[in-house]
């Protein structure tokens, strides 16, 4: 352990080259971004966790893909009422003894594991639909406003204002009544049509700056049309902003869905969502806390993972955010000091 702490962080293989040097070494922008992203430990762990959660959630209870029913390996359905074992307590004892109902059962015997899995499926659907729809609308509106400026900009920005003040709850309530028991897909699409405003403003700001740059003039002089300039020349330069903020939109989406369902304006019983589970079981918190912990835990894990991926992407796309790889962190310093004490030869050079 002490050896690990005392190690100099630089790998001897490329000690002669700083990251900056390697970055000007004729790599494409995409490669640089990818490398920086892969170096972001939090984002890498988060991607792994997210994939793991998605695999667990979709394989366990199966799913319905446009009428094609894919069965899962879990023994209970999310609606089936089973005989209550262990008084509904979770049967999972650490580490790997799962028992019959690892997350426990509710008061009428439904398996919480299956219900949480179903809820997480819904959350993932909402998140993906919301993110992609909001990203597309936001990019189109923001780029048009930023590129054309003038009255187009004025009108589109006032349209954005209109959507900013539009209460999401009303959409949830209206959709719920119109569709009759809101599905995840309907909710995701509905939220997506409201949630693009922040992205549109960001993209507009980015376009306002980029359209004045020389490479746009060059493209125009070379005879490029408007569409080509927007999509081939400006948009690739704004892609960082788009990707980062749509990631953050998605982590917001999962919380919004949960909040809506919690208030009773999102996904409604008999279908299940993570927020709706918490709402349904919050009265039983004192007697059956596991009904409350698991859905909350899954919301946090998914949202946290998406947030970290967003952070990694931001670091990767933003060349100003260069991390200095170094061994001068405080814990490492402390480690050196303490290790020095144990070896009884505290040298000045090491404690610095």
């Amino acid at each position: 352990m002490s050896n690990l702490l005392l190690q100099t962080p630089e790998d001897p293989a490329n000690a002669g080259m700083t990251i900056e040097q390697r970055e000007v070494e004729g790599l494409s922008q995409g490669t640089i971004v990818r490398r920086r992203f892969f170096r972001h430990r939090g984002a890498m762990i988060s991607i792994f966790v997210l994939l793991l959660v998605a695999a667990l959630v979709y394989s366990s209870i199966g799913f319905n893909f446009f009428g094609l029913q894919v069965p899962g390996w879990w023994r209970f359905g999310y609606e089936a009422q089973n005989a209550i074992t262990n008084r509904g307590n979770p049967t999972w004892t650490l580490p790997f003894n799962f028992g019959l109902h690892p997350f426990g059962q509710d008061e009428i015997g439904r398996d919480i594991f299956a219900r949480v899995m179903r809820g997480a499926q819904q959350s993932i659907v909402v998140t993906l639909l919301f993110g992609s729809i909001a990203a597309v609308i936001g990019v189109v509106i923001g780029s048009l406003a930023g590129f054309y400026r003038g009255w187009v900009d004025q009108w589109l920005m006032r349209l954005t204002d209109l959507f900013i003040i539009f209460p999401i709850l009303i959409i949830g309530a209206v959709l719920g009544r119109a569709v009759g028991g809101l599905g995840a897909a309907a909710l995701g699409i509905g939220l997506g049509f409201l949630g693009w405003t922040a992205l549109a403003r960001l993209v507009r700001g980015e376009f306002l700056g980029l359209r004045e740059r020389e490479f746009v003039d060059a493209a125009r002089v070379a005879g490029a049309g408007t569409g080509r300039i927007i999509f081939k020349h400006i948009l690739p330069n704004a892609v960082g902003v788009v990707i980062v903020s749509s990631t953050l939109l998605m982590s917001g989406a999962i919380l919004t869905e949960a909040a809506l369902s919690f208030l009773g304006f999102g996904i409604a019983a008999p279908d299940v969502s993570l927020g709706q589970l918490i709402n349904e079981y919050q009265g039983a918190f004192q007697t059956r806390p596991w009904l409350f912990w698991w859905p909350g835990l899954f919301i946090i894990v998914i949202a946290l993972a998406i947030n970290f991926i967003g952070d990694g992407l931001r670091d990767a796309f933003d060349p100003r955010q260069r991390r200095i790889p170094g061994g001068t962190g405080p814990y490492r310093q402390m480690g050196r000091v303490i290790a020095g004490w144990f070896r009884r030869q505290p040298s000045k050079a090491e404690s610095l």
């Binding site: 004025q154 006032r158 204002d161 209109l162 900013i164 003040i165 539009f166 209460p167 709850l169 009303i170 959409i171 309530a173 209206v174 719920g176 009544r177 119109a178 982590s251 919380l255 949960a258 909040a259 919690f262 208030l263 009773g264 304006f265 927020g275 918490i278 709402n279 919050q282 918190f285 004192q286 409350f292 909350g296 919301i299 946090i300 949202a303 946290l304 947030n307 970290f308 952070d311 100003r320 991390r323 200095i324 170094g326 962190g329 405080p330 814990y331 310093q333 402390m334 050196r336 000091v337 404690s351 610095l352």
Partner: protein, 509 residues
């Protein structure tokens, strides 16, 4: 500038009108204004339904009914302003008034605290970039960012409220807990203050010992049941405040500012005894306001007199210190009413529901404590979430500024780190944060829906939710939307204006 404001206001009113029309028609699809009556078993059901249809003019088609509602709104110009009636026949305007007051009470405290703590934490992480403290705070702020608000609120209600109330039943902290808490706090202080190896250990040790001593003192004196500060503690805490404020505003090397701050502390301590009589003689809110203003005035005067050549910095420092000492004196007075309050609420002070204890008899101090104990949990749950955002913004913003050339220039010409951070970097870093805050405040007015629902706080959010539930209360819904929407738009414009006022490089067009 003026033409910009007028143009933006005009466009915004138009946006608000269009949005109200859309929402009026959409929301009418969301429910049934007669929902509760249709299922009722009252013998005069038909008459009730007819009465409500008549009162709310439900037989007018919705798009037309919007214009009836709008005409009520436009009568503001002839002094007959109305927002219509709720389904139960109450005037929407009066409903709105009381809930707006409740929401403002909830949101102001939460926003202020979140901004102050968020900016402080975010900036300290930026200064200690890539330290363990920075990574820990970053991770925690991501975690808080990912927490569902309702989940936190329910947890707070069940663990903090019930836990603390149970703790007050027998307020003893075991030696083991004291040790653990002190070690943790020592570790936190060590991470914040930073530095190299050995000084870090010294900070760690002293912070641990101070925390343990404080906790021990609190337990031994039974402080949780009969809390008070008294002149001695006020003097000690006041002196610490003076040191901290001076080191942040002018630096401790400015002796005159330091003396001015310390003199205001001495005045505060000296006035403590006479003030007790004043508090007993005139227990009223105007007295508190007056004393607040007076404390600032005294601080300014002392600073002005002491600060000889450089009066303004000393006056500023002394005024801030003086105000904080005033707060200490007030806190002392409130603490002295704590035992009364405990017995009034049966020994369980932290409330989980509502904005105040019904039928609470007693002095103004009891009522102040009562609203604080009711505000505590909803404010905490609001802060936890927004704190994370402000921390991230403040950190990013200060980092951006610290990399600017003028900061390097300031360092190069030999200014102290405090001056560089507080005078050159901090002020510029605040510009983007202020716009974010303005934007958030506009949204917060209606955004506390979940917190209000869980803590049964009768504010705008819960008004909106109950209007959207069965039976649909369109007039109430529209009134809340109007207030929230106007706030959002006005603060949006304010954010733009603040940006141009603070950053001369940006011009409005």
């Amino acid at each position: 500038m003026l033409s910009f404001i007028i143009r933006r206001l005009g466009a915004s009113i138009l946006v608000l009108l269009v949005a109200s029309f859309l929402i009026y028609n959409l929301a009418s699809l969301a429910g049934d204004p007669l929902g509760d009556l249709r299922g009722s078993t009252a013998p005069n059901k038909a008459a009730l339904i007819a009465a409500r249809i008549d009162q709310l003019q439900l037989n007018v088609p919705t798009p037309l009914r919007f214009f009836i509602w709008l005409s009520g709104l436009l009568k503001v110009f002839i002094g007959q302003f109305t927002l219509g009636d709720s389904v139960n026949g109450h005037s929407v305007l009066s409903l709105l008034g009381s809930s707006a007051a409740n929401t403002l009470q909830l949101v102001t405290a939460a926003t202020l605290l979140a901004v102050i703590f968020g900016v402080a934490i975010g900036m300290s992480t930026a200064i200690r970039q890539y330290s363990g403290y920075d990574y820990t705070v970053t991770f925690l702020s991501f975690l808080f960012f990912s927490l569902p608000a309702f989940w936190v609120a329910v947890l707070l209600k069940l663990y903090v409220a019930i836990g603390f109330n149970n703790f007050l039943g027998s307020p003893v902290i075991s030696p083991l807990s004291i040790t653990v808490i002190s070690l943790v706090s020592g570790f936190i202080w060590m991470s914040i203050i930073g530095g190299e190896g050995k000084p870090r250990l010294i900070v760690f040790g002293s912070a641990t010992v101070i925390s343990a001593a404080t906790l021990g003192f609190l337990v031994v004196t039974d402080w949780f049941m009969t809390p008070q500060l008294g002149p001695v503690l006020i003097a000690v805490l006041g002196a610490l405040t003076a040191l901290m404020v001076t080191s942040l505003t002018t630096g401790l090397s400015n002796r005159r500012a330091l003396y001015a701050a310390l003199i205001t502390v001495a005045i505060g301590v000296a006035l403590w005894y006479p003030l007790q009589f004043l508090f007993a003689a005139f227990p009223a809110f105007w007295l508190l306001g007056l004393l607040g203003v007076l404390s600032i005035a005294v601080g300014l005067a002392v600073g002005y007199l002491v600060g000889k050549d450089d009066r303004w910095p000393a006056a500023r420092t002394a005024a801030i210190t003086s105000f904080l000492v005033g707060l200490l004196v007030l806190a002392d007075r409130l603490m002295r009413s704590w035992p009364d309050y405990l017995s009034a609420v049966g020994g369980r002070p932290i409330a989980t529901v509502g904005a105040n204890t019904p039928d609470l008899q007693g002095s103004i101090w009891l009522h102040v404590i009562d609203s604080y104990t009711h505000l505590l949990l909803p404010t905490m749950s609001l802060i936890l979430i927004s704190l994370a955002g402000y921390t991230r913004y403040a950190r990013a913003s200060l980092l951006e500024v610290m990399n600017q050339d003028y900061v390097r220039t300031a360092r190069a010409k030999g200014l102290t780190e405090r001056t560089v951070v507080m005078r050159h970097a901090f002020r510029n870093a605040m510009i983007p944060i202020i716009t974010v805050v303005a934007f958030d405040v506009g949204g917060l007015i209606g955004g506390a829906v979940i917190t209000e629902t869980i803590f049964a706080w009768r504010g705008m959010g819960s008004l909106f939710i109950s209007a959207l539930r069965d039976p649909l209360d369109l007039n109430v819904l529209m009134a809340v939307f109007l207030v929230v929407g106007s706030f959002a738009i006005v603060f949006n414009i304010l954010a733009d204006l603040a940006y141009t006022a603070l950053d001369p490089r940006i011009r409005v067009s």
